[in-house]
C-alpha cells in the first residue's frame, strides 16, 4: 500500500485563502494553485505519511462525501498529480 507525504526536502511557500492553497516551489520556481480537495490532501500530507486508503477516508469524512469509486479515483488522480509536480512523494 502506497504512502504519501509532502516532500520534506523541498522548500515550499504556502498561502491559504479560504479553502484554496497556493504553493510556491522555491527550487523550480513553479507556482501551483490547489483547489479545495487537492488542498485538503496536501495539508493532510504536510507533516506525516499517510496511506492512499487513509487519504481517501479522510477526504470522505472531511467533506462528508459518499465513499464510492468516483471518489477513490478522484483522490488517486490528485495524488498522482501532486506527485507529478514533485509536491508529494511516495514513501
Amino acid at each position: 500500500m502506497t504512502s504519501w507525504r509532502v516532500s520534506p526536502d523541498r522548500e515550499l511557500l504556502i498561502r491559504q485563502w479560504s479553502k484554496e492553497l497556493v504553493v510556491y516551489d522555491c527550487r523550480t520556481g513553479d507556482t501551483h494553485l490547489l483547489e479545495e480537495l487537492a488542498s485538503q490532501v496536501f495539508l493532510l500530507l504536510k507533516h506525516q505519511s499517510v496511506s492512499s486508503k487513509a487519504v481517501v477516508d479522510h477526504i470522505a469524512a472531511h467533506f462528508a462525501l459518499e465513499m464510492d469509486d468516483d471518489l477513490v479515483s478522484e483522490v488517486h488522480a490528485i495524488l498522482e498529480n501532486l506527485a507529478f509536480l514533485s509536491l508529494i512523494r511516495e514513501i
Binding site: R27, H32, A38, E74, A77
Partner: protein, 361 residues
C-alpha cells in the same frame, strides 16, 4: 579616463569607481550591458560589500541585475538536474563545461555570468547514446540540414545544439574542447581523467582547475577574432584568482598546457589577463610560456590586435566616438541578444488541480 576604459577600471578595482561622477556610472552601466558583464559587475560590488556606496541611480540597476543573476543561477541548477536525469542510464560520468560548471562548482567566476546553453563533455564513443537519451527526454536537434549535421559532428567537436521542446533550453554536447580542424589536439581522455566530482551531487563532474583555465583560454582567441573577448578574459581572470594558491598551481598550469598542446592559448590568456585586468600572474609563469608565444613585431602585432579586439569597436571606442552624445548606430551581432535567462521569460508553471474538472491542467 577615456570612456572605453571605464569598464576595465570598474572590473579591476570596483572600489575605486565609487568616487567617479554620475556620468561615468551612466556609461559604465551601458558598457557593462553591451559586453554582457553587468551581472558580473553587480556581483563584484556585492561581494566586496560596496553596493551601499554606489550612487543610488546606478545602484538600482545593479540591484535589478542581481535579481536576474539569482534567477539564472537557479535555472542552471534546475536544468542540470534535468540533464542528469535524462542521461542517468547512459552510464557515463556527466562532465560539465564552462558556465554550468562554474555555477555548479560554486566558483566566483559564476557570479552574474549569463549564458544560454549548457555545455557537457562526453566520450566520443558515447555520442550516439547521449543523443538518443536526450531525444527521448524531449530535446530536439536544432540543425536539421544534413550538411550542418555533418559539419558539427565531423569538424566541430560536438553534436549540433539540441533544444528542449518544452523548456526551450539548449544543450551542447562536446567530445573534445577544440575543433577537430584545429592544429592542436588536447586529449579528451586526459581531460576526463582529471575531471573532479562535485560534492553533494551524484555523478556530476567538472574539469580540473588547470583544464578549466585552459578551456577558457582556448576560446579567447578563435579564428582570428576576439569575439566575446572581454567576457572570456573576465572568466580567465576570475578562475586564475580563485585557483591561485601559490607557486604549485602556476607550475601545474603551465605544465598541463604543454601536455595538452595549449601553451600558446595560455600564453595569451595570462598575458592579456594580467595586462588588462591586473590578474596577479607570477613573472615566472609568463616567462616559462614566452617561447610558446610570438615575439618581436609579431607579438606587438598580436598585442595591438587584442587591445583593439577586446573592447571594440564599441560605441565608446576612440575611432568611433566623436562625442558620447553622438554615438553611431552600431549594432554588434553578439551584443544583440540580451543575455537570455535560461528559462523563457514567462515560464511560470501553474497547475490547477480541480475536483470538478477531474484532471490537471
Amino acid at each position: 579616463m577615456p570612456p572605453d576604459r571605464l569598464i576595465l577600471q570598474a572590473l579591476r578595482d570596483p572600489a575605486s569607481f565609487l568616487s567617479r561622477p554620475l556620468g561615468d556610472w551612466d556609461i559604465l552601466l551601458r558598457q557593462a550591458r553591451y559586453f554582457n558583464l553587468l551581472g558580473r559587475l553587480a556581483s563584484l560590488f556585492q561581494q566586496q560589500s560596496l553596493l551601499d556606496w554606489v550612487p543610488v541611480q546606478p545602484r538600482e540597476h545593479l540591484l535589478w541585475d542581481l535579481v536576474r543573476a539569482e534567477r539564472h543561477a537557479l535555472a542552471v541548477r534546475s536544468e542540470v538536474d534535468y540533464i542528469r536525469e535524462a542521461l542517468a542510464r547512459v552510464g557515463i560520468p556527466l562532465i560539465l563545461l564552462k558556465g554550468a560548471s562554474y555555477a555548479l562548482a560554486g566558483l566566483p567566476a559564476a557570479a552574474g555570468r549569463y549564458f544560454s546553453d549548457i555545455d557537457i563533455l562526453v566520450p566520443q564513443e558515447s555520442l550516439n547514446d547521449v543523443e538518443a537519451a536526450l531525444l527521448m527526454h524531449g530535446w530536439i536537434s536544432s540543425h536539421h540540414d544534413e550538411y550542418d549535421q555533418h559539419y558539427y559532428r565531423t569538424w566541430m567537436h560536438e553534436l549540433p545544439p539540441m533544444q528542449h521542446v518544452r523548456r526551450m533550453t539548449v544543450i551542447d554536447v562536446h567530445h573534445a574542447i577544440v575543433p577537430q580542424t584545429a592544429p592542436v589536439h588536447p586529449s579528451p581522455q586526459k581531460l576526463r581523467t582529471a575531471a573532479q566530482a562535485l560534492p553533494d551531487a551524484d555523478n556530476l563532474f567538472v574539469l580540473g582547475p588547470e583544464d578549466m583555465v585552459l578551456h577558457s583560454a582556448v576560446h579567447l582567441f578563435h579564428d582570428g577574432e576576439f569575439d566575446n573577448g572581454l567576457r572570456d578574459l573576465v572568466d580567465i581572470d576570475a578562475l586564475l584568482r580563485h585557483f591561485d594558491a601559490g607557486q604549485r598551481f602556476w607550475e601545474s598550469l603551465t605544465q598541463r598546457a604543454v601536455e595538452m598542446e595549449l601553451s600558446r592559448p595560455l600564453f595569451y590568456a595570462l598575458r592579456y589577463s594580467s595586462h588588462i585586468l591586473g590578474t596577479p600572474v607570477p613573472k615566472g609563469a609568463l616567462q616559462s610560456l614566452c617561447k610558446a608565444g610570438p615575439s618581436g613585431i609579431f607579438l606587438a602585432g598580436m598585442d595591438a590586435l587584442f587591445q583593439r579586439g577586446i573592447l571594440g569597436p564599441s560605441p565608446w571606442s576612440p575611432e568611433r566616438r566623436s562625442s558620447l552624445a553622438h554615438f553611431l548606430l552600431y549594432v554588434r551581432a553578439n551584443a544583440l541578444r540580451m543575455p537570455p535567462v535560461l528559462l523563457a521569460r514567462h515560464l511560470f508553471h501553474k497547475a490547477f488541480i480541480s475536483r470538478s474538472k477531474g484532471n490537471v491542467h
